[in-house]
Structure formats: C-alpha cells, structure tokens
C-alpha cells in the first residue's frame, strides 16, 4: 500500500519534471557562496554570456546573503521546488551540502560544483579554476617573459614554510624549470603571509642579490608587499614582481610598474565554463564519468579525472591592458 503510494508520487513527479523540461528553456541555477561578492557577480556575468551563446538557457543567479552552508541548503531546497534543470554551485562547505544535493540529483537535477567543491557524493562533476601544474608553469612563465633575452635571476617569496598550496605550486614550478633555459631560481624565502615580514624578505632578496631580475610571489599578501618593497628601493624596471594576486590589490603595483603582470583565475571565464559544463551534462551530450571530455565553449574542452573533477585553464594573466576592467570586480 505504502509502496504503491510512493511509486505513484515518484511517477507523477517524474512526469511533471519531464513536461516542464520539454516545455521551455533549460533553467540553470548558479548558486554562489553569498550574494554581493564581486568575484561571484563577475562569475554570473560569465554565466549570462554562456546562456546567450547557447540560446535555450535561462540563468538563475542566486545564493544566501551570508557565506553559510545552512543558507545554501535553503536556496537549494527552493531550487528543487522550482524544478530547475541544473545547479552549478560554489559551496560553503564540502560535506554539509551533500544530503541536499543528493536529493536534488534524485529528482533528476544535474548538479555540478565549481570554484569551491562539494564532496564527490554530492555532485556529478567539479570544475577547478586551474590545476597545480598549470599554476606552477604560469608563475615561472610570467617571470621568464619579462627577463632579458639571456635570462636572469629569479627568487621566490612564499607564504609560510608549511603552506600546502604554495609548496605544491613551487614544486610544480621547479619541475618545469628546464623548459625555461637561462632562468636561474636562486631560492625561496618565506614572508609568513605578513605584510611587514614579506616586505623585509623582499628587501633582503634585493640587498643580497643586487642583480636580481624578478620576484615570484604565489601569495596575495606577499606579492603586494614585494611590489611595495621594490618601489621603495627604487628598483622599478629592474626587479619585476609577479605571481598570484588579486586585481583590486595589485592595481597600484601595475600602475607603478613594480609588477608587469600577474595571474589569478578569471571569474568570468569560470562562471561561463561552469554553465557550459552544467548545460552539456543536463542535456545529455556528455556523461559525468572519469575520462569523459566535456566541451566548455570558447574555453575549449575539459577532461574529468578519477574524482570527476576537471581543471578549466591556465590562470588568467592581468597586466596594464586589462587591470582597470578587473580592479573593481574582485
């Protein structure tokens, strides 16, 4: 008796779902950590761009007002009730959202995570903005591009000696070093992600290596402090500061010339790619399984790895030509 009732409900629900999906455009919900954050507003712009390109997609940009998992659960529940076709989420918590997202998938909704991931149980696929290999290669490439033709000396200013991210990126950078002949990495110093210590370490690097050409700082505190130290030492044009930073924080350094270029993921591309990925999975053009290749429009293609996650692209490079467009975004 009970079972029959349940089956009927499921059948009715599935029927309704199929009907609504066939009737109008595909509705993709972009769920962000919180509304009003520049980074995510930019991602929403990218999602709209993807929607226009695809034509038959409607974007629902939503999220809680503060960065909590509870807030996102409420948002997801209401999206399930609205019977959207796909949810692309940047999660506030890796595990807390899993039960709710599982429920969404049971109702036939395609769930992908992007930027900040959900545990594999709670999503079909995940899109990372970049990968450690790509970041490691990018930071040394940025330094090498601005060096004199015959190479030069480069030093790394990291966060703490135990920062996992930075250590992996520096390791990946060291691996690809043979591809950049003439580039001599003289060592790594640690600014502990403190503005004053990073500044002092950068000063020390310039003092003990008067012929230093570049400082690579794969940390947002370090890169800003190093740029300031270069300006104060009067070495703009001689020592180039590069690495990973945010456009809003680095605008001054680009302006002063202390930094020629730096990189970080582009939120617009990320929102665009997440939407593309969700679209193709929901449409059935691609299946979420290890090794699957999914087209992400103008960004090319991504390949899912063993945990169904993929890396979008190289970090995006910011320099004087585009910094003004991005400095107000994030």
């Amino acid at each position: 008796m009970k079972l029959t009732k349940l089956l009927t409900t499921v059948a009715v629900a599935t029927g309704l779902f199929a009907q609504s999906a066939a009737a109008d455009d595909m509705r993709i919900a972009i769920v962000v950590k919180a509304l009003g954050i520049g980074f995510f507003e930019a991602a929403a712009k990218g999602a709209e761009e993807a929607a226009q390109e695809l034509g038959d997609v409607e974007i629902i940009y939503t999220g809680p007002t503060d960065t909590t998992a509870e807030g996102q659960i409420e948002v997801i529940n209401s999206l399930i009730a609205q019977r959207v076709d796909a949810i692309a989420i940047s999660a506030n918590d890796t595990d807390a959202l899993v039960p709710t997202l599982k429920k969404a998938m049971q109702r036939g909704i395609t769930v992908v995570s992007w930027d900040s991931g959900v545990a594999p149980d709670g999503r079909m696929a995940h899109l990372n903005p970049s990968s450690n290999e790509l970041i490691g290669n990018m930071i040394i490439k940025l330094a090498a591009d601005e060096l004199p033709a015959d190479g030069g000396k480069v030093a790394v200013l990291s966060a703490t000696t135990t920062s996992t991210n930075q250590n992996i990126w520096i390791e990946e950078m060291t691996k690809v070093l043979p591809n950049y002949p003439g580039v001599e990495v003289i060592g790594t110093v640690y600014g502990d992600d403190l503005a004053d210590k990073s500044y002092r370490e950068a000063q020390g690097l310039m003092q003990s290596n008067p012929d230093l050409n570049a400082i690579i700082a794969p940390t947002s505190v370090g890169i800003v402090a190093a740029a300031q130290a270069v300006v104060d030492a009067g070495k703009v044009g001689q020592v180039n500061v590069t690495g990973l930073g945010l456009p809003s924080e680095m605008a001054g350094a680009i302006e002063s010339g202390a930094s020629k270029s730096f990189a970080i993921w582009n939120p617009i591309d990320l929102g665009y790619s997440a939407t593309m990925m969700a679209y193709h999975l929901a449409k059935g053009d691609a299946t979420a399984e290890p090794g699957a290749e999914i087209s992400i429009g103008r960004m090319g293609e991504v390949t899912l790895d063993d945990t169904n996650s993929a890396a979008m692209a190289d970090p995006f490079v910011y320099d004087e030509t585009n910094i003004d467009d991005f400095k107000s975004i994030f």
Partner: protein
C-alpha cells in the same frame, strides 16, 4: 664603573657585537644608509615599545597594541579613501585621538572595574580585530585607493632618514623628558615600584595606570597610521602577533615585568636589537626553518640575563650588614 655595568651599556655592546657578526656574513648590512633604513623599519616597534614600557612600569600589560594599531590604521585608510583631499596631518591627529580613546577603554576597565590588565587587553585585542572586520567587511584597502600624500608622508627623507625614523626619534625624546623630568612620569615608576608607598605619597594608582594605557594607545594609533602608510595596504590581520614583539622588545630592553624598573634608552635598544635580527635574517642566508628559533633564543637569553642581574641587585638590602659579615 656604574656606567659600564649598566644594562644599557651591555645591551649596546651586544648590538655592536651583533652588527659585527652580521657584517662578517653580509658587509653591505652595516653601510650607514642601510643602518638608517633598519632604524626606520624598526620605528613602529620602538614607538609601540615605548608605550608598552609605560604600561609595564605600572605593573600592567597591554596586549591590545597590535590590534589597536590595525584598527586605527584601517580607520585612517578608510578616512583617506572617503575624503582623499583631507590633509594627512589631520589623519595623523585623528589616529592619535582614536588610539588614545581605544587605550582609554583598556584603562577604564582596569581602573574602574579592577579587572586584571592581561584579561582586559586580551579581550579588547579580539574586539578591536573584530571591529576591523565589521567596518571593512573583510575587504582590503589597497595602494591605488589611498591618496599619494597619504602613503608618501613616512617616506619623506629629512637628512637621509625617512620621516618614519624621525617620528621614533621625536617620540623617544618626548618620552625621555616625560619619564625623567615630570611628575606624571615619575608617578609611573612609583606606582610600579611600590603601589602602597605610592598611595601614601598621594598618587592614585588606578588613575596612573589609566593614563599609562592612554599613552600606550595613543602611540599605537600613531604607529597604526605609519604602518598602513608604509606598507600601503590595510586589512584585518595587519601586524598580527606584533604585540608579542613589542613585549619582547621591552623585556630585552630591561623593563622589569614586575614593574617599576626600566628606561627609555633601554627600550629603544631592546627594540633595535629585535629589529636588527629581523632585518638581518633575510640577508645572512640562514634557513627560514632556523629563523624563528634564533629570534626566540635571543629573547630567552636576554630575559635570563635580565633576571640574573636583577637578582644580585635585589639581594643587597643592608650594605652595612653585608660588609659586617
């Protein structure tokens, strides 16, 4: 004889020895221009340590100085962003007043509610950091948002030394005169040296401690502006953990944690000792894994030395009795 034995002389000798040691590994460090830069770089620490000195003299401690610095600095940066045309000197004035007000909060809690200073300032330290988060929304204020004159002031060179360094000189002079030549200055020593005796001489212990916190807060506010302008960035975690450096500078400089003992010159030398180590470690090519251990060892050695010299002094109560033996 007395001069040779004094703590300041010994510390000064230690600093010279340290400089020579650094020079053997990196001769460029002892160039006069670099030493002036080290002085300037250490200025915020010296200014904060001088404020902390007054507080410690009265048997209190102010752990909220770094948070006060960060909060005042953030407010200065926000004022500058909101009103870029406002003369920087007005912002410096606002920083002094605001820092003093934050210090007064500590002082009032210690004075009127008799809460132990370490608890009060541990609490306000967290509160101040929390307020920065609330007013800034966790966002950074960056170099390109600040006006040019705002970040330029500490960098103006006068006779080869940046204004940042001159500020420390000025603060040291004012504090030196106040501590040795004025009644309030002597009251700080009296309150810390012997609170009961101080009461009998008509000194209000609580009120004196209150003023010590106000001075410490005011100097922290000043350092807040200087810090933000120097590093051209303001965010929640600015100067995180710096309060420990400040207390360490005082201890190395011979300020007795038990109160009542200490000098302005000692404090300056203590801060300079730490500043030298901080500035030298990046250039002498020592593994970063060792750097923290070396800084810590220097502090422990200084404190050990401090307590040993203090002990012999304290034991001789009756000179004549000792001679009689």
């Amino acid at each position: 004889m007395n001069v040779l034995k004094s703590r300041e002389t010994i510390l000064f000798a230690a600093i010279l020895a340290l400089l020579m040691l650094i020079a053997t590994r990196f001769p460029g460090f002892v160039a006069p221009t670099n030493l002036l830069n080290v002085w300037a770089d250490t200025s915020p620490l010296m200014i904060l340590a001088l404020g902390q000195m007054v507080v410690i003299l009265t048997r209190c401690i102010d752990l909220s100085v770094a948070a006060n610095l960060a909060l005042t600095g953030m407010v200065c940066a926000m004022i500058n962003v909101a009103m870029p045309g406002l003369p920087v000197i007005v912002i410096v004035g606002a920083a002094l007043i605001m820092g003093a007000a934050l210090g007064a909060v500590n002082g009032l809690l210690v004075w009127k509610l008799s809460i132990p200073p370490i608890v009060v300032t541990l609490g306000t330290m967290t509160i101040f950091r929390g307020i920065i988060f609330l007013i800034s929304d966790g966002q950074w204020i960056n170099a390109h948002e600040m006006s040019a004159s705002f970040t330029a002031l500490p960098r103006i060179q006068v006779l080869g030394l940046p204004l940042l360094g001159w500020t420390a000189v000025l603060v040291a002079l004012i504090m030196g005169i106040m501590m040795s030549r004025t009644a309030p200055g002597r009251a700080f020593f009296a309150v810390g040296g012997n609170p009961h005796a101080a009461v009998y001489t008509g000194i209000d212990v609580g009120r004196t401690q209150f003023w010590a916190f106000v001075i410490s807060g005011m100097l922290a506010g000043l350092a807040g502006y200087l810090w933000i302008a120097r590093y051209a960035v303001a965010y929640v975690d600015i100067a995180g953990g710096f309060e420990l450096d400040v207390v360490a500078a005082c201890v190395i400089g011979g300020i007795s944690i038990a109160g009542g003992v200490g000098t302005v010159v000692g404090t300056i030398l203590g801060a300079l000792f730490l500043g030298l180590i901080k500035n030298a470690l990046p250039v002498v090519d020592i593994s970063p894994f060792w750097q923290l251990a070396i800084s810590g060892a220097a502090i422990i050695m200084a404190v050990t030395f401090n307590s040993r010299t203090g002990r012999t002094k304290g034991r001789i109560i009756l000179k004549s009795a000792e001679i009689a033996q």
